[in-house]
């Protein structure tokens, strides 16, 4: 025992950190660069956060509130600042939402680290303590979380609308939130209930109308018009749909070829042959009862020619051309059909069936909708509308965040309160924990706890409330055991945030804390920047 107590003070004495000027400078400049990035996005946090307008190098203008998008477009050069951008991307990949939160937390922790370093604590000691603190924080969060059933549609909608409330499209959250929930739930495979592949949800953007007109389509939407050449049909009931990967145009070989025409009469014959060739193909198609053709784009030759379109129109077959190869998988999955790569393989069993395929005019643009698909695969399409391109893009990003939120809930079925409540609670519990720790560790954990208060502070600040009054009151309420007390931005006061329906998935909060800590630790451990090839 005596040995332990003797070792203790010496250990803390020798842990003091002496370093030369250059390393200190590098670390300082890294931390400052990272913090300035964090400050740049800080004001966009929360339901009353502001948007940023970004004008990109090629003259495009983007208005967004999404942290990941802002940072992505900022084109920072400083390596440490770049790491923060990466951090936000990782959060986007891991949880899809909370991309601003994660950067703001990282910035706040770095600020605390700066003062820890100036006290002469060795960076690796800080780094280890932060790791411990973040593990503990995740435990605390998990303990706070409320389990959720997927059948509880209300709660899912609540969390989706929490995410949407901080975006430009917040006034439409009543429309978009249920839409996001429905589309995710409809692609959940009962065999693999924890997995959601967001690629099964296709978002089609179309200019015109307002965000109000955004709708969920049980079926397919093509952002193209049906082929109108030669007056082909644009509406087809009881559609039999074929997805073809070959071309309906005059034959072309891979080897170079030329047709030698020696006299005038042969010209006629060639034209006729060409016509017969195409007609033959179309007859085969018609014979299977197919009446809607989706034709894959081809780089080798024209997918369709005027001539073939004319015949197809005559055969009353609706044609949608230039389907991208990447989309084929989604389409075949939805239609529950197989792509056809050769006219010889054109058989009735490879067709997909739908009640209705029709071309719909939306303003001056047209789209093709396929609805009432028989044996439809687990896919959904969301048609996003908006009055201008900026709104549509932002709506798409917001919808993506909302979809991610729902997906998080599907894979990890726990909810947690929003509005800064979890952060304050973490800060309180970690603060209490730090008091029982020994040495430098306790000091570092306390700083970590203090750093977490940045979230409620910023929320209040962005909402035009008095941040200090709000944060202190929050602390007070949490100390009295109201673990769900949070900032109600709309009312401008502190309420039980669970009752206000402000909830978010647990995964978003936990991954924000652990990713931010990991990033900070990495920045702390760097002592030099070396220029290389």
């Amino acid at each position: 025992m005596a040995a332990v107590s003797a070792a203790q003070p010496r250990a803390s004495k020798t842990e003091s950190y002496v370093d030369n000027k250059r390393k200190e400078d590098i670390r300082q400049s890294n931390i400052n660069a990272a913090r300035s990035v964090a400050d740049a996005v800080r004001t966009s946090l929360g339901p009353k956060g502001m948007d940023k307008m970004i004008s990109t190098a090629n003259g495009e203008v983007i208005i967004t509130n999404d942290g990941a998008t802002i940072l992505n477009k900022m084109e920072v050069l400083q390596p440490a600042a770049k790491m923060l951008v990466e951090l936000s991307k990782s959060q986007d990949a891991a949880a899809g939402d909370g991309t601003t939160t994660v950067v703001v937390i990282a910035g706040a922790i770095l600020k605390q680290c700066l003062s820890l370093l100036s006290h002469g604590i060795h960076p690796t000691v800080i780094s280890d303590s932060l790791h411990k603190a973040s593990t503990k924080a995740v435990d605390v969060l998990t303990a706070m979380a409320v389990p959720l059933e997927l059948s509880d549609r209300e709660s899912l909608i609540k969390s989706a609308s929490t995410s949407l409330n901080s975006k430009v499209v917040s006034q439409y959250s009543t429309l978009l939130a249920p839409l996001a929930v429905d589309s995710v739930l409809s692609v959940v495979d009962p065999e693999k209930p924890d997995m959601v592949d967001l690629r099964d949800i296709k978002i089609v953007k179309k200019l015109g109308g307002t965000v109000d007109d955004t709708q969920l389509v049980k079926g397919l939407v093509f952002d193209k018009k049906a082929s109108h050449a030669a007056g082909g049909p644009t509406r087809m009931e009881n559609a039999k749909i074929a997805v073809i990967q070959f071309q309906i145009s005059p034959p072309k070989t891979d080897i170079e070829q030329s047709i030698v025409v020696s006299d005038y009469t042969q010209m006629d014959r060639i034209l006729k042959e060409e016509r017969n060739y195409i007609l033959g193909m179309i007859k085969k198609i018609k014979a299977t009862g197919c009446n809607v053709l989706l034709i894959q784009k081809s780089i080798l030759r024209d997918a369709v020619t005027d001539l073939s379109l004319h015949y197809l129109a005559k055969a009353k077959i609706m044609v949608i051309k230039d389907v991208e190869r990447d989309d084929i998988e989604f389409i075949t999955k939805t239609l529950n059909c197989l792509p056809i790569a050769n006219i010889e393989h054109f058989r009735a069993e490879k067709l997909g069936h739908a009640d209705l395929v029709e071309e719909v005019s939306l303003g001056d643009a047209k789209i093709v909708k396929v609805t009432g698909i028989k044996d439809m695969g687990r896919t959904t399409t969301v048609l996003v509308r908006g009055s201008n391109q900026l709104v549509i893009d932002e709506a798409e990003r917001s919808l993506h965040d909302a979809l991610c939120v729902v997906r998080c809930l599907v894979s990890k079925r726990f909810l947690i309160a929003g509005g800064g409540a979890p952060e304050i609670e973490l800060s309180r519990q970690l603060g209490a924990w730090s008091k029982v720790l020994h040495g430098m560790e306790g000091y570092c954990v306390r700083s970590f706890a203090e750093a977490l208060e940045v979230i409620p502070y910023t929320l209040a600040e962005n909402a035009g409330l008095n941040p200090i009054a709000i944060v202190t009151e929050l602390r007070n309420r949490h100390a009295q055991g109201e673990i769900n007390a949070g900032i109600n931005v709309r009312k401008g006061q502190i309420t039980n945030i669970l009752e206000e329906n402000v909830v978010q998935p647990l995964l978003v909060s936990t991954s924000a804390i652990s990713l931010a800590t990991e990033c900070v630790r990495m920045i702390l451990k760097i002592d030099d920047i070396v220029n290389v090839r």
């Binding site: 003091s16 990967q245 894959q296 990991e518 990495m522 070396v530």
Partner: protein, 527 residues
């Protein structure tokens, strides 16, 4: 009349003292650069590329840092080379080797200043290195006979290697991963069979080891997503059409139907090729090149799983682990070796789908899937894990194990010191210098951890005065501790390689007395 100019215009020549100075300065500068990354509390460096994209790498790996530096000093280049060789040979100790060589040179510089001939220094260094190696090999522990103990040795080595890297927080998890992977290899050092896949997302703790092989590709449309007892044909062949590859080859026809016939014939050729491939009795076909829609459909009709556009590395590895061969002609089904595996299925890793081959022919094969917050973390994790795997696979072959934490250096230093006392003549100064250079390593480890190095090293030296002492630096508690109890071990092979190649490099640089820089080759003015 002065002598005619011997060298070209831009070429330069540095002689004697100046040349030696230049080498010393260069080598010591490099050493100082990587020195801070040494040990469990070493720091990381950002490598910022000045090339396009300004890519950023964060690393603690000596070899990676040195490899990417712009260097114009010949002596510094020698050090970088030894670090590379160390990386290829044993995989770890890349920083240690450079630091030791640098320290040897730093000591040599002082001796040269004291008017001792470089050749005398070299012969002293040689004697000292020989003596140090003997001292080490006498103190090794060899648990070859005892499988249980040997495995715990491996775990210790893996933990020690990983503790200086980014994986240090999860070293228990990764040490287990690395040991399991290396044990599967059953003594071969062929790290090819261990595949590392990096997937952003999740945390490092979510990384896992999977037996079998994972190919990061998608299964073709309409094809089976799960095959049991798969017979796999791995190929590198064009699946569009077999083109006649004669320049200017073309056909002349006189009607449209003939063109259609040729097209039909081309299609037919493709179909024949597919038939031939299917005739091998396979149910999985992996191609290096694209498989176009038409053959893809044919495969789907035949119920064959076809994977297109696998990367080159991927198919070579796949052929290796499934015991097949990469085929490019399909006329003789008997002569083609077909790979086998028990099960092919599609799995989800994070957000992406991959194809998993399990129960493969080559039982050694396995895949480590790394998960982590960002690409920086993943890249660094891969480098760290690679180091651990290298060291472990070397240790499996050469089962001799040493303690770590500055212990080997202190043991060597003690023996070398004794040798110095016994040796008459100027050489003894060089031998003494060698021992000082060895002690520099524990000193740097302590310095990096922010500890009082002078105090600790003195304590360590005193502790080592006793026979059979296991004392080393315990960085975590900041004191001298028993390395055997703390479970800090290192591979003998790595230490020996560090010692010998560092000495050799120092020797080589010491021998130099003239640097001739050739005139840079003129770039032709074509721009």
């Amino acid at each position: 009349m002065a002598i005619e100019k011997i060298l070209k215009d831009d070429a330069s020549e540095e002689k004697g003292e100046r040349a030696r100075m230049a080498s010393f300065v260069g080598a010591i500068a490099i050493t100082d650069l990587v020195k801070t990354t040494l040990g469990p509390k070493g720091m990381d460096k950002i490598l910022q590329s000045t090339g396009r994209g300004h890519g950023v790498t964060v690393t603690n790996d000596g070899a990676t840092i040195l490899k990417s530096l712009h260097i114009d000093n010949p002596a510094a280049k020698v050090l970088i080379d030894i670090s590379k060789v160390q990386d290829d040979e044993v995989g770890d100790g890349t920083t240690s080797v450079v630091v030791l060589a640098g320290e040897l040179l730093r000591e040599a510089e002082k001796l040269v200043a004291a008017k001792i001939h470089p050749m005398t220094i070299i012969s002293g260094y040689r004697m000292a290195a020989e003596c140090a190696r003997n001292a080490l090999s006498q103190r090794v522990v060899d648990n070859k006979e005892n499988a249980e103990k040997f495995k715990s040795d491996l775990m210790k080595i893996a933990r020690t290697t990983l503790s200086s890297k980014i994986l240090s927080q999860d070293k228990e998890h990764f040490a287990q991963l690395a040991v399991d992977a290396v044990m599967r290899l059953k003594g071969s050092t062929n790290l090819e069979a261990i595949q590392i896949i990096k997937k952003p997302g999740g945390s490092l703790m979510d990384s896992f080891l999977d037996e079998g092989f994972i190919l990061d590709k998608k299964i073709g449309l309409g094809q089976p997503k799960r095959i049991e007892n798969a017979k796999i044909l791995v190929a590198n062949t064009a699946m569009d059409t077999d083109k006649v590859k004669i320049y200017g080859a073309r056909v002349r026809v006189d009607s449209m139907s003939k063109v259609a016939e040729i097209e039909g014939a081309e299609k037919e050729k493709m179909r024949e090729k597919v038939q031939k491939i299917i005739a091998h009795g396979i149910n999985c076909f992996v191609n290096r090149q694209l498989i176009y829609n038409f053959p893809e459909e044919l495969f789907a009709d035949a119920g064959v799983l076809a994977i297109e556009h696998a990367d080159f590395d991927g198919i070579e590895r796949l052929a290796l682990v499934t015991g097949g061969e990469i085929a490019s002609t399909f006329d003789n089904p008997e002569s083609v070796k077909i790979g086998h595996c028990k099960l092919i299925e599609e799995i989800m890793i994070g957000e992406d789908k991959s194809i998993h081959f399990s129960g493969v022919e080559m039982g050694q094969a396995c895949t480590i899937v790394l998960r982590g917050a960002s690409h920086h973390v993943l890249d660094e994790a891969e480098r760290s894990l690679h180091d651990a795997l290298c060291v472990l696979s070397q240790t499996v072959n050469d089962t001799r194990v040493l303690l770590g934490g500055g212990w080997p250096e202190m043991v060597m230093a003690k023996e070398v010191d004794e040798l110095a006392r016994k040796t008459p003549g100027k050489k003894s100064h060089a031998i003494e210098a060698f021992s000082r250079a060895l002690v520099a390593i524990p000193t740097i480890i302590a310095d990096n951890a922010g500890l009082d190095s002078a105090d600790l090293v003195a304590q360590l030296r005193a502790a080592h005065h006793k026979e059979g002492c296991n004392a080393g630096i315990d960085v975590i508690s900041g004191s001298v501790g028993d390395m055997a109890e703390l479970g800090i071990s290192e591979s003998f092979k790595v230490k020996q390689a560090v010692l010998l190649s560092a000495t050799e490099a120092a020797e080589m640089i010491l021998r130099v007395d003239e640097i001739i820089t050739c005139a840079p080759r003129q770039r032709e003015d074509r721009m």
